[in-house]
Symmetry: D2
Subunit: 442 residues, 4 copies
């Protein structure tokens, strides 16, 4: 199958709606890596290995040496934002990276100026920018975004473009009639249906052009029948929702561990403090609602209370995000987990994660850009479930249950790559370390 | 293959060298479960499910309904200890379980009186008991243990017996000449070779009789060529070392998660406080050494610094166990993990686990007893690597690298059970949620 | 002066509006102490010492042996509640104390049945009881409470009675016209002014009868000119507001320490989880508002940003209370404190307090009852600032600034007792350890 | 009395044995403060206020405006070290302060080169330097140090000099015969008595010249009769031992708070991780012993188990220091405190202090230098107990009990300053906020 994958020749444009903390950390980082000033830690595509064949074969290449991904030197960045700051200014404001590092790539960052954003105050109350597209209808806005993409591609001599949403969390939205078919959606664009969020306009524009679209926020965006249909029509990969960083990352690591050991869970209280723009947006209850829904589903899916009512039938799960300016981008989470063991005796696990939001998110953007480009070149269209590994709330084809367990997600991702390249998939049995041994002992 | 598994008919004797906190918590618990007073939480054999076939088949039975395990009502308990207290008295002293619960099964517990222990002060400086076998040679001691086992089996009308070591940590010991062959070992027994530890005498006695032996402490015990050879000769399953509870359990859950995300690790500091007999024994440096070796190897195996020197080549890993009487059996661990992400930016994870040592260990003893009995009836002999899931320092056939990642260990355990029962093994691809989808999209 | 203090002869009635977790923990505890089953830990009157004279004199009696307090054996308990449960039933429901302990004093507890409560749903949305007084006007309700007090006193042969509010937090209320004078207040009672809260009716009734009233909740209650005036008129001690337990207790211990060292504070984030009735009431934003105001003022008063703007001028202080049923009465707080030192370098203190709400509050109720009775017998009327030690938000005479520093509060309390008994007050200089030394060295 | 205080005219030399992390952080910081680049946070002399007279007078000056202290611009630094690095190099190696800050004061720091140190490997096993004095006898070494001091004073045109020990922790030493009188001590110097530690040689040299000596390590140094006698003879202030920073600082803040509330303490477990030179020295058991003794006495003194055996009679107190290089100078402590309240119910406080060792210590050095100079000019000689505020293990005149409670220590310090300047001492009663009120109410 792998001989059918298109080569990654030419330049790849990575466009992000949102040039805030996450996107600028990504861009500055890639430029620094290109200059050998730092390492792209946290990026599976750049730093991760993949085991192939039997354990005894000892084949364990870097992923980037195994599958044909775009090279970092072939990447060009661009994006949209409601503020006019260029990427250097925005990165300085974000206070994520050291000024010294930013100065080392200053020229590259200053060259990137945000295109005017599609923005609607009713979707994000706590943001106020002035770099905003004006148009009579949402259809016009979509057209303008398509023009942006085409212009960027041409101006930068790109052979391919992908889009990864790095913007803010919009208010909570449930799918409604206008989202059901491509027809109703396009009508909605023309008559300014209020249920069409700005993020949907970006996604629509991307998919019309066959440009992969990955959604890093919990927004509904392309998780609606209309856009899933469009993705299939134009052979375009899509994926989402919400980068899995920080607390939820820890949750999808720890919960499978508790379940593996048949330890019960009575309660899980998660508190967060953060002081960046994301924290400020989420301080508004309507926007927090969107995030909360994304964060709460995780435990239930992993622990499967319906199969284990005695262990997981009564979990009280609560998530709080608190805007706390002294923390800046240093998001900090505190989890208290009430578990019980043998005979119901209770125990507690308390986790304090002093993390950095954008530092954790930036490599995910890079991986999603490179993998969605790979998917496009490999002819994989529609929802890319094998990229669930990267999302808090993985999008699935309608009706399917998402997988949240990060270890199962990783196996799926790796086996997808193996299968794509014509390698045997790995089962941790047989191909794995103990098969011969177990067989011998049977 | 499963039609060759012997039925689990008749009574199963579970004998434990050591009738302290762990063993009495197990025994009292099983008796309470039999009276429907409590649930055997934490036991995979009793509470865990196993998924079979394709996800869409929705087959997810309890493990105990899937493989032919001994029923809890068919179990009889016994053991050896250096103290004369019966199990009720010992359980009251251990202060793990509520007096009210112990009184509810008092008669059953009082009926179990410890057999005289094989003990050697030079192996455990901080224990001082008076219920100890006296004999001229270690060979005589081994013979006495064999007699104990035979007598117990007959007196309690057992069809099978298994042994799980629940005793203390002995001083650190490296394999030497006397441990290399069965011949040299038996000579050593006869001439009281000081390198033959008490735990080895129990293991030898068990294996001579074809009784499975599982090792819950980090002691060398049956992890020597002589006893591995004997296990093969007598078709006996063996396994070890050191029950994976508390801090190490958390470590083997968390480390694979960090590695999955290609996040770097600079340091991992682990501190423990506990106030039970185990803590007191480990307060002696010679005994702590044995434990330390068992605890330290975990990270290196999971993170594979040789494959990822940029991420894991410089880990400073330190483990401390502090005897702190106010904690009693409520072992508490505190981990500080220094990680780094994108461009090398540092972050910290701090985990405070308020656990209960014996509550976490007791269900492991039960599972190991039942699974080693299953292995024996299935004709599996020698080291049972598929039970690595339960151990801090999994014993392997000489020369093989142990697997510490708890998620891979669980897949191996489950696939072993599936294979034993003639079910398809599961790869999280194909049989799993996304195969059709992925194929469709290719 | 002390020879003017009335003797504590006869019985003292302690009445509490609210017979929930705190009050029942107090009552069961005092009964258990009287039977020598437990110790009144946390009670300064019962367990605390007080140093007298010069350090070299070595006089350090128990407070209860120094000042003439009511003896525990002379105390009779009673109270009001919106539920009909007797104190035994209420204590069992509260799940604070072990059933075994409650059974040991069951007869005493069952004998105490709550009088009908004054209640108004609009002041506490999340409580729903059926043991409630009905009357045409608030004046009638006040009269009914006075009758309750008189009847209780007679029925139990009490020579004195005190009241300590142990009920829930009412919605936030600012003082308005009706609260300004006794006249307007009494008119308000007659015409059912909605700004007169149930707690004010209790306080009014108490003060009319000269019964000391201490306020354990953050409610406005007697912190209004009308009732302060009444207290003076009837020579009655009053005090409040809000028992200082848990997180705020820690805050008033720690903040003075940081200030002592001239360490700066940038942010203080306080999160709480608790699962008892108090937590449920506070889950309603209107009731939380009252609590929040009480909790927030603490830092500002201690750190005095106006004197030290460089150190404390920019504190971001946030307090969250989260209802989390798995915690039950085991209130748990997590504080993150962002401080800075030499040259502005930042540091963090994280405090996780696994406390028990009612266990911390019960001894405060006892002390306040005994000390307010002492104050009454000593002729001290109006606001008892020397009892600030016990309150989150100490009530002061109008216009004065409250003292929150627990160490200064303690010195004031102790010096008040010393002065009352004709002992020298202590300055930690001169009378203290280093005077001679310092003088010698000058 | 204050009119007898000598003016602080001319330059003050601050000499430190040890030019490592603490001393270089002090020096660089003072230079940065002089250039208005940063603030001397954590220094009571520079940032702290002192309240004078009645609260209503509203007099609250900065301490430096109240007592005649040397001005920062009049300070000259110097010192001794076993390494030859100048202060800039040493500060860069210490990695406490940002390189950018150090470069801003580079010239000033490079100008300070360490004088050759008095060093003895047998007192500090883990240090290996090459900038060491060679001499036949310890008397010769003392003479050489005196010459250093005199030369420094002259070269830098200083009117006064003080010495603050900022060197490492020596091995544990108990006072022996040679330490008992000045005569035996001087004989010991001449015949190289092994019980005379290097730090004693510095102290002896200082005291001979009438130069104040403050001891920032737990070393015995001047806490011996011989040197206390010498201090009196030469009218020289001395003080020690061991800067109170980090965990012990927290302990002396928190313990008085628990005691104030009559809450019991069952256990206190303190763990530390640090990765600087201090941590490496303390990794040696002989040196840790000295530190441990200094850290352990704190609780006992504050909680007074002899007065409150029911509350504090059974404390299990344990302190651990772990060398953990990833932490660098960012010392981190974790305390678990097992307390009990009403009826003996247990609770826990867990404190995680992410502190910076040298950042906390540097301002203490400054304060001690300035205050000891003030003491000298005020004619106060011998042990300065009023500076106990700064020490983990306050030195007292023989036979007296040290005060550890930081709040009492602060009152003593402030009252000493008030008395020195002829102001009324403050009792938190009477002169304080509630006297009139309390009197009115009596």
């Amino acid at each position: 199958m792998h001989n059918t994958i298109e080569k990654a020749t030419g330049k790849l444009g990575i466009l992000t709606p949102g040039l805030g903390a996450v996107a600028t950390t990504l861009i500055a980082g890639v430029e620094a890596v290109k200059k050998n000033l730092a390492q792209p830690v946290g990026s599976l595509t750049q730093m991760g290995n993949i085991r192939l064949g039997k354990k005894s074969e000892n084949r364990n290449p870097k992923i980037k040496d195994f599958v044909p991904l775009a090279d970092l030197h072939d990447i060009v960045f661009g994006g949209w934002d409601v503020y006019q700051d260029n990427v250097f200014e925005a990165a300085m404001n974000a206070k994520v990276l050291e000024p010294m590092l930013l100065h080392a790539v200053r020229a590259e960052l200053e060259a990137i100026k945000p295109m005017k954003a599609v923005f609607d105050q009713s979707y994000i109350a706590n943001l106020h920018g002035d770099n905003i597209k004006q148009a009579a209808t949402k259809a016009d806005l979509a057209k303008a975004v398509m023009d942006d993409i085409e212009n960027f591609k041409e101006a930068n001599d790109c052979s391919r473009v992908v889009i990864v949403w790095c913007g803010s969390t919009e208010i909570y939205l449930e799918p409604s009639a206008v989202h059901q078919t491509l027809e109703s959606f396009e009508a909605g664009l023309r008559n300014n249906d209020p249920a069409i969020a700005p993020s949907m306009i970006y996604a629509y524009a991307a998919l019309k052009l066959g440009v992969p679209f990955m959604n890093g926020a919990p927004n509904l965006t392309c998780d609606i029948p209309a856009l899933m249909q469009l993705a299939k029509q134009t052979d375009t990969p899509i994926g989402g929702k919400d980068f899995k960083t920080g607390q939820t990352l820890m949750k999808t690591i720890l919960a499978p561990g508790l379940q593996a050991r048949a330890l019960g869970v009575k309660g899980w209280f998660s508190s967060n403090i953060l002081g960046n723009r994301d924290g400020y947006v989420l301080d508004h209850p309507d926007n927090f609602k969107t995030k909360e829904v994304s964060k709460l589903s995780v435990l239930e899916d992993i622990l499967q209370p319906e199969s284990n009512p005695e262990l997981y039938g009564e979990i009280y799960h609560k998530v709080r995000i608190n805007y706390y300016p002294p923390a800046g981008d240093n998001k900090e989470s505190w989890d208290n987990i009430d578990i019980f063991g043998w005979l119901g005796y209770s125990m507690q696990i308390k986790i304090n994660f002093l993390c950095r939001d954008s530092i954790l998110a930036a490599p995910l953007v890079l991986d999603l850009a490179l993998f969605s480009d790979l998917a496009k070149r490999s002819g994989m269209s529609g929802v890319q479930e094998w990229l669930s590994f990267y999302f808090k709330s993985p999008q699935t084809e309608t009706g399917l249950h998402p997988e949240h367990d990060i270890f199962k997600q990783l196996i799926v991702l790796q086996n997808t790559l193996r299968q794509l390249m014509g390698e045997e998939i790995i089962t941790h049995m047989g191909q794995d370390f103990d098969q011969d041994l177990v067989e011998a002992s049977l």
